[in-house]
Symmetry: D2
Subunit: 131 residues, 4 copies
């Protein structure tokens, strides 16, 4: 898989009293990039939900190396490291001209009603496997 990259700008809403991006918000940026990665393959979140699928984050391992600041233009990367029938592992990074944050995010597919794990739709599976 080619590395997918998505730009995110830092606004006041993203900062905290320390004058830097509130660390929790990096996880939002990473999800935006995963969403855009799927959109680049013609998959919209609304469609998934209407088909009864929810993608639920199972675990996050995140290292904060340096801080993003107001006005920064960040590059968020998305890479599929591993994919099984109902679970996918993403490696992601956030950079300016240096590496700020990197994370491993495991996402599972669940049935929106039962909240039980279920197989990814085949179209999604193909996207994740094509690396």
């Amino acid at each position: 898989m080619k590395l997918f990259e998505f730009p995110v700008r830092v606004y006041i809403e993203d900062t905290d009293i320390g004058g830097i991006v509130y660390y929790v918000n990096y996880l939002k940026f990473m999800e935006r990039a995963r969403t855009e990665f799927l959109r680049s393959h013609k998959i919209e979140q609304q469609d998934l939900q209407q088909q009864g699928f929810l993608f639920v984050v199972k675990s996050v391992n995140c290292d904060y190396l340096a801080s993003a600041k107001l006005d920064d233009q960040l590059t968020i990367s998305v890479e599929v490291a591993k994919c099984s029938a109902a679970s996918v592992t993403f490696l992601q990074s956030i950079r300016t001209n240096q590496l700020l944050t990197r994370a491993e995010v495991v996402v599972v597919c669940v049935n929106a009603e039962t909240m039980r794990p279920c197989r990814f739709p085949s179209q999604i599976r193909q996207i994740f496997s094509n690396r």
Copy 2:
């Protein structure tokens, strides 16, 4: 109606680079107080949703007079100013030892499926009218 009051503590998540509470977050605090006002009358949000009602904010008029700071213990007030069949007007304030913010918030009741305005459940109507 007796004035309903609810305490909210300011955490780092609520602040921004200016070192004060990010102004958008006061609206979250006001909604927490409205939710607790209803809970004090035995109305849970989940129940409303399961009965097919959504409370949707129609308008917000908010004046910011002074800023809340990290660690501040805020008091959020809720008062029903006006109530009709499908709409209620709240007057709310946020205080420390001084008045920080006051707002008028109009909320309408809608059918969760059609998103069309509908009458408040009678139990709710009674709570709002009892002032």
Copy 3:
């Protein structure tokens, strides 16, 4: 002044249990657009802060007409309605193919240390007056 417009995409982080954009978040979108309006005139937020200026929201009057949904591509507009020495009134709207939200937002310039109102830097004043 020409109407300034800025696109904002709706992500999962912006939604709530009602399945629509959490109403508080529209105010974040409007601030992003104001920030980009200034950036289009070569004004960065960081520079303002380093020069000792803070832009503080004094009041918000916001009407919610219709709801934005997940994946929606929104257009946020910015227009300067009025400008004085230390205060500026913006008219803003949020649209998809229909008008979702419109707001009047009053912003004042304060000294970052004293938090007292002060005159806008002349460069900013010129941008706001040029309408």
Copy 4:
């Protein structure tokens, strides 16, 4: 150290379109609990900042086991697992009547101006070591 516990109520602001708590927000709840753990030892965030210290999150390892829902009353726990001169490792959990989330959060003390790691104030060190 005795386990410190802090209650958090789930509001609409915490939910997403999936009808459950947006997973990023659990990290906010955990920080609230760490803040209250320090406050229970008479340490206020404002004081730390005024003394020139910032506590910066270095890494988060978080497992999501089950989801919190609107109106849930959560119990957030804080335990110090390890403490060195400039770094502390917290074990935290979020529960209703079942375990929802558990996380390991590493926090480092930095000088607020240089953003370089520095030793915890001795009063803090003592709190963290007293386990």
